[in-house]
Symmetry: C2
Subunit: 448 residues, 2 copies
């Protein structure tokens, strides 16, 4: 295979019991106690993953409840990720800790503080996955009669990110001399008041926490829509994305990397990590049997609920063995709808076939095979510049993560594609991202 | 001394380097590294304190900066308390964890989730100190040109507390049967949608986290104004307050406890814990010397900054050795201004004398003496129903907390006033607060 320098990055993406929609019904599924989460993070750390990753939405998906009654479990309950990751910081030493938080339903000052605090507590291992939150149900928890339109969510998100990044530079790295003799606790010349005034936010600053070990937490984004890609090119350091085919992945990778230059950024300043859901067996038959054992646990109502959620439209009235109907335009996650519809059209899938296809990986890339099969596929995407690494979404937890670590990680190491030891201490070190300078300090230096 | 049944409750209130305004300049002061905070919490736990307590405000006090330049350190920087306490939950086993969070600058859905998550992570040790935040500077970080008037802040706070408490009952304790065979993850009959519609908030719910080990986190409040006392009587389970004299303390205690009945609450449903700042020496001379060593570190600009902050008015133009001038009405913390002005009038203090008086305890109760002196004073307030316990504000950290634990706690135990072992596992167990029933479950039972 064509040679590409460097190694791939791996995230371990948590979901209670596993990402497969029926995983919780599997006899091997862990529940979501704190100890299960600690075990998950420590295993990923022992295997030298770059980070653990947690999704989030501030609400129960009532639409799901309506369709699937009490039988779907995804999006119903979870630890709040910022508090969870602060706890996991004390249960681990090296692995990165990435939590999702919404730019639509938070105040930038509060969010900037919490992630800065997490970066201090963890010694430089925090990452913030910025999402705009496409759930109608979340909007009802925040004084909104309806969710903001897609474009407006992204305008707010861009300004939100500007405010957060500005606040993170409120203090220079050496702003606190703590000179007891002189009574000089901080150096006023190293304090920078943001004084942001924009259409969505007016935030004076400064942030009441020192600059963090990483300069600032790593900024992650997940949107793959046009405004999502543009926002990512401007501010993100990691993109968590979803592509089904090698061609789609290469196109997406080239598209986003090409946008970086116009913001004065280098290609290496942004890492692209598609999601992948691996079912690994020592033989292909074993892998297939593991996968089918999960698929058989999906009831039609749960499958339809998941599909409706991905498409932003209720499919419960349509025949299970008929084609996907024409869909109304969605105000939800456009990229997610497009990816799923493209898959159905490409492979001429029925409603049932489609929900079975996305149940395992939730619209992400599903792999079922031997360690060599899986490593071949990952390597192919990596060397052809379809990915800088992968966010691993184990369909069953803890089993699928154990399998990946025991079987696939050694194979990746044999191929020189993955580390055997951490090279540094921070999430930036793991990802190969430089520590950003303080924007205000830079400006002053330039003026001298 | 008159006999009162029961024992007193003790909180350990953290402040970087100690609560004395010049503590950070003392050679014995710890800085605020994570390890310093872990040591603080573990020491308080080893001594069987009920809880550790953290103040908070979402902003740097720029007014302080203007007065005191870079020489004041209070209110400049800190860990964000929710993330901090989630980390401390993993570093401790039994002690309660109380964080302050503002009802003026948060969304109730986010706050309810975070404290519920903290209660799960800590196994039932979380407390939320509800404050309305009287800092003008914080308002500028949240799109506000000015802070809300005092009355409006309290109206919002009351509705905020209603929403949070309602969300915490979204699920009954046994709402998640997780029946794998039947595919029944939760029981819809045990899910309650709040659907709150009020003047400040419209929040549908449900909360996306199960009911917590304590039923809900303990609700703490700190306001001592008229609306503050009324809000506390309606919703708080602990009041953190400040009274200088025994008479004031008894009046406040009787006043607040008498208000409980009109909300259908018992006197024991609310614990009153005034702040106390103890400087302990083996002799009175030693205690006095320790205190003077701190007082000597206060510069006039820092003293004036602190005083101006307490009074909500800039005193920097007035003679240090003259009387306290007449003050304009404040929109800040009324109770704090009143307490400080009353102290000055009662003892005819000059500006300098007043700032020296409040520098140690920040308007709270300053004690300087032997272990027997301190225990006498605490016992007197307790047995005369001026307090159910105390929130201990060590003027110097770690030294003053060490002194209190080594010298005063054994004296309290000899008198039968403080526990030698924890009686239970949760913060409610420590405080002697009952676990609340789910309000919705109760209603249904009543209707049957």
């Amino acid at each position: 295979m064509a040679k590409r320098e460097g190694q791939l990055r791996l995230g371990a993406f948590y979901h209670e019991g596993g990402h497969h929609v029926a995983a919780w019904r599997h006899a091997g599924a862990a529940s979501e106690g704190l100890q299960d989460l600690i075990d998950f993070a420590r295993k990923a750390e022992a295997a030298k993953f770059d980070a653990v990753f947690f999704a989030d939405g501030p609400g129960v998906r009532l639409r799901n409840l309506a369709v699937a009654s009490a039988k779907a479990h995804s999006g119903v309950r979870a630890f709040e990720p910022v508090t969870l990751l602060a706890a996991l910081a004390l249960a681990t030493d090296r692995i990165g800790l990435v939590a999702t938080a919404s730019s639509s339903f938070n105040e930038p000052y509060n969010l900037a503080r919490q992630f800065a605090s997490l970066d201090h507590i963890s010694g430089g291992r925090a990452g913030w996955n910025l999402v705009t939150t496409n759930d109608q149900d979340a909007a009802f928890n925040f004084n909104h009669g309806a969710q903001l339109p897609h474009a407006q969510r992204y305008q707010r998100a861009a300004e939100f990110a500007d405010v957060v990044l500005g606040l993170w530079d409120s203090w220079e790295d050496d702003a606190f001399p703590r000179d007891r003799e002189a009574g000089r606790y901080f150096d006023p010349a190293k304090l920078h008041v943001l004084d942001h005034k924009g259409p969505h936010f007016q935030v004076l600053g400064p942030l009441n926490i020192p600059r963090t070990p990483q300069g600032h937490p790593v900024v992650v984004q997940a949107g793959s829509s046009e405004p999502g890609k543009e926002l990512a090119a401007r501010t993100a350091e990691v993109i968590f994305t979803a592509q089904q085919t090698l061609e789609e992945a290469i196109d997406f990778y080239a598209d986003v990397k090409a946008r970086l230059a116009r913001y004065g950024r280098a290609r290496d300043d942004l890492k692209i990590l598609p999601g992948v859901s691996p079912v690994v067996g020592r033989t292909r038959a074993e892998a297939r049997a593991k996968f089918e054992a999960l698929q058989e646990l999906i009831t039609p109502e749960v499958g339809l609920g998941l599909l409706s959620d991905h498409l932003g439209a209720d499919l419960s009235g349509y025949p299970l063995d008929g084609p996907i109907p024409d869909l109304p335009p969605t105000n939800g996650g456009k990229s997610r709808q497009t990816l799923v519809v493209d898959l159905a059209l490409r492979e001429k899938l029925t409603v049932r076939e489609l929900y079975l296809r996305i149940a395992g990986a939730r619209g992400h890339w599903q792999l079922v095979g031997t360690p060599a099969d899986i490593a071949d596929q990952l390597e192919e995407r990596f060397v052809h510049y379809g990915a800088d690494g992968f966010n691993v979404m184990p369909p069953l937890l803890p089993g699928s993560l154990d399998d990946f670590i025991e079987l696939v990680v050694p194979e990746l190491r044999r191929r020189g594609l993955f580390r055997s030891e951490y090279e540094g201490d921070t999430l930036r070190d793991h990802l190969g991202l430089r520590r950003p300078e303080n924007r205000f300090a830079r400006r002053i230096a330039a003026a001298e």
